[in-house]
Protein backbone atom coordinates (compact mmCIF):
# COMPACT_ATOMS: atom_id res chain seq x y z
CA UNK A 1 0.00 0.00 0.00
CA UNK A 2 2.82 2.35 0.98
CA UNK A 3 4.62 1.57 -2.28
CA UNK A 4 1.44 2.18 -4.28
CA UNK A 5 1.02 5.58 -2.60
CA UNK A 6 4.62 6.51 -3.42
CA UNK A 7 4.19 5.53 -7.08
CA UNK A 8 0.94 7.49 -7.28
CA UNK A 9 2.55 10.53 -5.66
CA UNK A 10 5.46 10.39 -8.10
CA UNK A 11 3.07 10.26 -11.05
CA UNK A 12 1.01 13.20 -9.75
CA UNK A 13 4.13 15.30 -9.15
CA UNK A 14 5.46 14.49 -12.63
CA UNK A 15 2.14 15.46 -14.19
CA UNK A 16 2.04 18.68 -12.14
CA UNK A 17 5.49 19.66 -13.38
CA UNK A 18 4.63 18.81 -16.97
CA UNK A 19 1.34 20.70 -16.98
CA UNK A 20 2.25 23.47 -14.55
CA UNK A 21 3.79 26.89 -15.10
CA UNK A 22 7.37 27.92 -14.67
CA UNK A 23 7.79 29.62 -11.28
CA UNK A 24 10.04 32.67 -11.49
CA UNK A 25 11.74 34.27 -8.49
CA UNK A 26 10.39 37.84 -8.56
CA UNK A 27 13.49 39.09 -6.75
CA UNK A 28 16.16 37.58 -8.98
CA UNK A 29 14.35 36.60 -12.19
CA UNK A 30 15.66 33.05 -11.83
CA UNK A 31 13.38 30.16 -12.82
CA UNK A 32 12.88 28.08 -9.66
CA UNK A 33 11.09 25.15 -11.28
CA UNK A 34 7.65 24.23 -12.52
CA UNK A 35 4.50 23.78 -10.48
CA UNK A 36 0.79 23.35 -10.86
CA UNK A 37 -0.91 26.23 -9.06
CA UNK A 38 -4.49 25.46 -8.12
CA UNK A 39 -6.96 27.57 -6.20
CA UNK A 40 -9.42 25.58 -4.06
CA UNK A 41 -11.64 26.65 -1.16
CA UNK A 42 -9.93 29.98 -0.76
CA UNK A 43 -6.43 28.53 -0.64
CA UNK A 44 -3.71 28.31 -3.25
CA UNK A 45 -2.18 24.86 -3.63
CA UNK A 46 1.31 24.64 -5.05
CA UNK A 47 2.03 21.17 -6.41
CA UNK A 48 5.38 19.90 -7.60
CA UNK A 49 7.71 22.78 -6.77
CA UNK A 50 10.94 21.86 -4.97
CA UNK A 51 12.23 25.35 -4.12
CA UNK A 52 11.41 27.10 -0.82
CA UNK A 53 9.36 30.09 -1.98
CA UNK A 54 7.39 32.91 -0.34
CA UNK A 55 4.25 34.34 -1.96
CA UNK A 56 4.34 38.07 -2.67
CA UNK A 57 1.90 40.53 -4.22
CA UNK A 58 3.57 42.22 -7.14
CA UNK A 59 3.87 45.98 -7.64
CA UNK A 60 1.60 47.29 -10.45
CA UNK A 61 2.25 50.33 -12.64
CA UNK A 62 -1.49 50.81 -13.22
CA UNK A 63 -3.89 51.34 -10.34
CA UNK A 64 -6.40 48.49 -10.62
CA UNK A 65 -9.10 47.85 -8.05
CA UNK A 66 -10.29 44.58 -9.59
CA UNK A 67 -7.09 42.57 -10.07
CA UNK A 68 -3.88 42.00 -8.18
CA UNK A 69 -1.00 39.72 -9.11
CA UNK A 70 0.79 37.29 -6.88
CA UNK A 71 4.20 35.82 -7.54
CA UNK A 72 6.87 33.97 -5.62
CA UNK A 73 10.25 34.87 -4.26
CA UNK A 74 13.02 33.41 -2.13
CA UNK A 75 15.08 34.72 0.77
CA UNK A 76 18.63 35.80 -0.06
CA UNK A 77 21.31 33.37 1.11
CA UNK A 78 21.87 33.74 4.88
CA UNK A 79 24.55 36.37 5.50
CA UNK A 80 23.86 37.51 9.05
CA UNK A 81 26.71 38.98 11.07
CA UNK A 82 28.17 37.51 14.22
CA UNK A 83 26.35 39.25 17.04
CA UNK A 84 27.86 38.78 20.44
CA UNK A 85 25.46 37.96 23.20
CA UNK A 86 24.83 40.66 25.80
Amino acid sequence: MERFKMVLRTLVVRAARALGSPVVDQRTGRVLGRALIVSFRGKVHLIGLEAAVRPVFLPQERLTYWKQEMGFTTHPAPDFPHEPRP
Partner: protein, 250 residues
Protein backbone atom coordinates in the same frame (compact mmCIF):
# COMPACT_ATOMS: atom_id res chain seq x y z
CA UNK B 1 46.93 26.94 16.63
CA UNK B 2 43.72 25.36 15.32
CA UNK B 3 42.88 21.78 16.07
CA UNK B 4 39.85 20.10 14.49
CA UNK B 5 37.96 17.23 16.08
CA UNK B 6 36.22 15.10 13.45
CA UNK B 7 33.10 13.63 15.04
CA UNK B 8 31.82 10.52 13.26
CA UNK B 9 28.32 9.42 14.15
CA UNK B 10 27.74 5.75 13.43
CA UNK B 11 25.53 2.82 14.32
CA UNK B 12 27.43 0.28 12.23
CA UNK B 13 29.02 -3.03 13.34
CA UNK B 14 32.63 -3.04 14.57
CA UNK B 15 34.09 -4.40 11.31
CA UNK B 16 32.52 -1.52 9.37
CA UNK B 17 33.72 1.01 11.94
CA UNK B 18 37.27 -0.40 11.64
CA UNK B 19 37.19 0.13 7.87
CA UNK B 20 35.74 3.60 8.27
CA UNK B 21 38.54 4.53 10.67
CA UNK B 22 41.14 3.10 8.31
CA UNK B 23 39.79 5.39 5.59
CA UNK B 24 39.75 8.44 7.84
CA UNK B 25 43.33 7.76 9.04
CA UNK B 26 44.51 8.46 5.50
CA UNK B 27 43.05 11.95 5.74
CA UNK B 28 43.63 13.10 9.34
CA UNK B 29 45.46 11.93 12.46
CA UNK B 30 43.51 9.31 14.47
CA UNK B 31 43.69 11.48 17.59
CA UNK B 32 41.53 14.00 15.75
CA UNK B 33 38.70 11.50 15.22
CA UNK B 34 35.99 10.82 17.78
CA UNK B 35 33.59 7.93 17.19
CA UNK B 36 30.12 8.60 18.56
CA UNK B 37 28.38 5.26 18.59
CA UNK B 38 24.63 4.88 18.61
CA UNK B 39 24.42 1.27 19.72
CA UNK B 40 25.46 -1.35 22.26
CA UNK B 41 28.22 -0.39 24.71
CA UNK B 42 29.73 -3.89 24.47
CA UNK B 43 30.21 -3.51 20.73
CA UNK B 44 31.87 -0.14 21.18
CA UNK B 45 34.29 -1.70 23.69
CA UNK B 46 35.53 -3.99 20.90
CA UNK B 47 36.55 -1.04 18.74
CA UNK B 48 40.29 -0.37 18.80
CA UNK B 49 40.33 3.41 18.75
CA UNK B 50 41.36 5.80 21.53
CA UNK B 51 38.58 8.35 21.13
CA UNK B 52 35.11 6.86 21.29
CA UNK B 53 31.93 7.53 23.18
CA UNK B 54 28.37 6.29 23.34
CA UNK B 55 25.21 8.23 22.63
CA UNK B 56 21.96 6.86 24.02
CA UNK B 57 19.15 9.05 22.77
CA UNK B 58 15.78 7.70 21.57
CA UNK B 59 15.31 10.87 19.52
CA UNK B 60 18.28 9.86 17.40
CA UNK B 61 16.74 6.48 16.50
CA UNK B 62 14.02 7.61 14.16
CA UNK B 63 12.89 5.91 10.97
CA UNK B 64 11.16 8.71 9.13
CA UNK B 65 13.59 11.36 10.29
CA UNK B 66 11.81 14.64 9.40
CA UNK B 67 8.34 13.37 10.37
CA UNK B 68 9.60 12.07 13.71
CA UNK B 69 11.73 15.22 14.10
CA UNK B 70 15.05 13.44 14.58
CA UNK B 71 17.41 15.17 16.97
CA UNK B 72 21.20 15.48 17.19
CA UNK B 73 20.95 17.45 20.41
CA UNK B 74 21.98 14.37 22.39
CA UNK B 75 24.99 13.90 20.11
CA UNK B 76 26.03 17.53 20.50
CA UNK B 77 25.74 17.23 24.28
CA UNK B 78 27.81 14.01 24.46
CA UNK B 79 30.54 15.51 22.26
CA UNK B 80 30.58 18.78 24.20
CA UNK B 81 30.99 16.83 27.43
CA UNK B 82 33.79 14.74 25.86
CA UNK B 83 35.55 17.94 24.75
CA UNK B 84 35.75 19.33 28.29
CA UNK B 85 39.40 19.85 29.18
CA UNK B 86 40.61 19.11 25.65
CA UNK B 87 42.20 21.69 23.38
CA UNK B 88 40.27 21.22 20.13
CA UNK B 89 39.28 24.57 18.63
CA UNK B 90 36.83 23.35 15.96
CA UNK B 91 34.37 20.50 15.48
CA UNK B 92 33.68 18.84 12.15
CA UNK B 93 30.59 16.65 12.42
CA UNK B 94 29.99 13.89 9.86
CA UNK B 95 27.53 11.05 9.60
CA UNK B 96 29.09 7.64 8.93
CA UNK B 97 28.25 7.83 5.23
CA UNK B 98 29.98 11.16 4.66
CA UNK B 99 33.65 10.65 4.01
CA UNK B 100 36.66 12.81 3.26
CA UNK B 101 38.05 12.41 -0.25
CA UNK B 102 40.76 15.07 -0.34
CA UNK B 103 43.87 15.19 1.86
CA UNK B 104 44.02 18.36 3.93
CA UNK B 105 40.24 18.72 3.95
CA UNK B 106 40.25 20.03 7.54
CA UNK B 107 42.71 22.77 6.56
CA UNK B 108 40.47 23.73 3.63
CA UNK B 109 37.47 23.87 5.94
CA UNK B 110 39.37 26.13 8.34
CA UNK B 111 40.46 28.44 5.52
CA UNK B 112 36.92 28.68 4.14
CA UNK B 113 35.52 29.38 7.62
CA UNK B 114 38.08 32.17 7.99
CA UNK B 115 37.33 33.61 4.54
CA UNK B 116 33.62 33.69 5.32
CA UNK B 117 34.24 35.11 8.81
CA UNK B 118 31.84 32.41 9.94
CA UNK B 119 31.27 30.52 13.17
CA UNK B 120 29.50 27.63 11.44
CA UNK B 121 29.64 26.18 7.92
CA UNK B 122 26.60 24.22 6.75
CA UNK B 123 25.51 22.45 3.60
CA UNK B 124 22.49 23.77 1.70
CA UNK B 125 22.01 26.52 4.26
CA UNK B 126 18.92 28.58 3.54
CA UNK B 127 16.50 30.89 5.25
CA UNK B 128 13.08 29.25 5.23
CA UNK B 129 10.71 31.27 7.45
CA UNK B 130 7.54 32.22 5.61
CA UNK B 131 8.37 29.86 2.75
CA UNK B 132 6.96 26.65 1.31
CA UNK B 133 9.87 24.59 2.68
CA UNK B 134 8.15 21.42 4.00
CA UNK B 135 10.13 21.06 7.25
CA UNK B 136 9.43 24.70 8.10
CA UNK B 137 5.69 24.38 7.42
CA UNK B 138 5.54 21.18 9.51
CA UNK B 139 7.03 23.06 12.47
CA UNK B 140 5.23 26.37 11.96
CA UNK B 141 2.05 24.53 12.93
CA UNK B 142 3.49 23.72 16.38
CA UNK B 143 2.31 25.98 19.19
CA UNK B 144 5.31 27.73 20.71
CA UNK B 145 7.62 27.25 17.72
CA UNK B 146 8.20 30.96 17.10
CA UNK B 147 7.99 31.89 20.78
CA UNK B 148 10.87 29.50 21.47
CA UNK B 149 13.33 31.42 19.28
CA UNK B 150 12.01 34.76 20.53
CA UNK B 151 12.67 33.66 24.12
CA UNK B 152 16.47 33.72 23.78
CA UNK B 153 17.34 35.36 20.45
CA UNK B 154 19.92 38.16 20.37
CA UNK B 155 18.82 39.04 16.83
CA UNK B 156 16.80 42.06 15.74
CA UNK B 157 14.57 39.79 13.62
CA UNK B 158 13.57 36.97 15.93
CA UNK B 159 11.41 35.10 13.41
CA UNK B 160 14.27 33.96 11.17
CA UNK B 161 14.36 30.19 10.68
CA UNK B 162 17.33 28.55 8.98
CA UNK B 163 17.64 25.10 7.46
CA UNK B 164 20.69 23.03 6.63
CA UNK B 165 21.40 19.53 5.38
CA UNK B 166 22.33 17.51 8.43
CA UNK B 167 24.95 15.06 7.17
CA UNK B 168 27.90 17.29 7.97
CA UNK B 169 28.73 20.67 9.45
CA UNK B 170 31.76 22.56 10.74
CA UNK B 171 31.73 24.57 13.97
CA UNK B 172 33.95 26.84 15.99
CA UNK B 173 34.26 25.24 19.41
CA UNK B 174 32.44 28.06 21.21
CA UNK B 175 29.45 27.94 18.85
CA UNK B 176 29.31 24.15 19.17
CA UNK B 177 29.45 24.13 22.98
CA UNK B 178 26.90 26.91 23.46
CA UNK B 179 24.47 25.31 20.99
CA UNK B 180 24.95 21.95 22.72
CA UNK B 181 24.08 23.48 26.08
CA UNK B 182 20.61 24.57 24.91
CA UNK B 183 17.61 22.35 25.56
CA UNK B 184 14.97 21.59 22.94
CA UNK B 185 11.63 22.76 24.36
CA UNK B 186 9.83 20.12 22.27
CA UNK B 187 11.00 17.96 19.37
CA UNK B 188 12.34 20.07 16.50
CA UNK B 189 13.95 18.43 13.47
CA UNK B 190 17.72 18.76 13.61
CA UNK B 191 18.00 20.37 10.17
CA UNK B 192 16.05 23.35 11.52
CA UNK B 193 16.99 23.19 15.19
CA UNK B 194 20.78 23.30 14.97
CA UNK B 195 21.25 26.19 12.50
CA UNK B 196 18.37 28.25 13.87
CA UNK B 197 19.57 27.85 17.46
CA UNK B 198 23.13 28.88 16.54
CA UNK B 199 21.80 31.85 14.54
CA UNK B 200 19.66 33.17 17.38
CA UNK B 201 22.55 32.72 19.79
CA UNK B 202 24.39 35.27 17.64
CA UNK B 203 26.68 33.00 15.64
CA UNK B 204 27.31 33.60 11.96
CA UNK B 205 26.40 30.70 9.69
CA UNK B 206 27.48 30.45 6.08
CA UNK B 207 26.67 28.05 3.31
CA UNK B 208 29.37 25.76 1.99
CA UNK B 209 28.87 27.07 -1.54
CA UNK B 210 30.53 24.98 -4.22
CA UNK B 211 30.89 21.98 -1.91
CA UNK B 212 27.11 21.49 -1.93
CA UNK B 213 27.48 19.73 -5.28
CA UNK B 214 29.01 16.76 -3.53
CA UNK B 215 26.40 16.39 -0.82
CA UNK B 216 23.28 14.50 -1.86
CA UNK B 217 20.30 13.28 0.09
CA UNK B 218 19.68 10.02 -1.77
CA UNK B 219 21.64 7.27 -3.48
CA UNK B 220 25.01 5.65 -2.87
CA UNK B 221 28.02 7.37 -4.44
CA UNK B 222 30.44 4.53 -3.70
CA UNK B 223 31.44 4.44 -7.39
CA UNK B 224 31.84 8.21 -7.60
CA UNK B 225 34.64 8.77 -5.08
CA UNK B 226 37.44 9.27 -7.60
CA UNK B 227 35.23 11.43 -9.81
CA UNK B 228 34.22 13.61 -6.84
CA UNK B 229 37.86 13.99 -5.79
CA UNK B 230 38.86 15.12 -9.29
CA UNK B 231 35.85 17.46 -9.28
CA UNK B 232 37.13 19.27 -6.19
CA UNK B 233 35.12 17.59 -3.42
CA UNK B 234 36.48 17.76 0.12
CA UNK B 235 33.88 15.34 1.44
CA UNK B 236 31.24 13.19 -0.28
CA UNK B 237 27.76 12.06 0.82
CA UNK B 238 26.19 9.52 0.82
CA UNK B 239 28.59 6.62 0.52
CA UNK B 240 26.73 3.90 2.36
CA UNK B 241 28.28 0.60 1.32
CA UNK B 242 32.01 1.33 1.21
CA UNK B 243 32.50 -0.08 4.72
CA UNK B 244 30.72 -3.35 3.88
CA UNK B 245 33.72 -4.79 2.06
CA UNK B 246 37.51 -4.62 2.32
CA UNK B 247 38.67 -1.16 1.31
CA UNK B 248 40.06 -0.78 -2.20
CA UNK B 249 43.82 -0.27 -2.46
CA UNK B 250 44.59 3.44 -2.52
Amino acid sequence: MSRVLNVLLTHQPVAQMDRMLAWWRDYCPPENVLIVFNGDEKLLAQLDHPHKTLVDDPRLRTVKHPRERQSYTGVWRVVSRWLEGRDYTHVHFAEYDQLPVTPGFNERQLTYLEEERADVLAFQLQRVDGTSQPHYLYHAALPGFFKHWESFSVRHDRRVVLSMFGSGSFWKRGAFDVTAARTEPFPIYLELYLPTTAHHLGYRLRDWGDQNRHINSLGDFVDQIEHARRDGAWTLHPVKTLWNQPLPTR
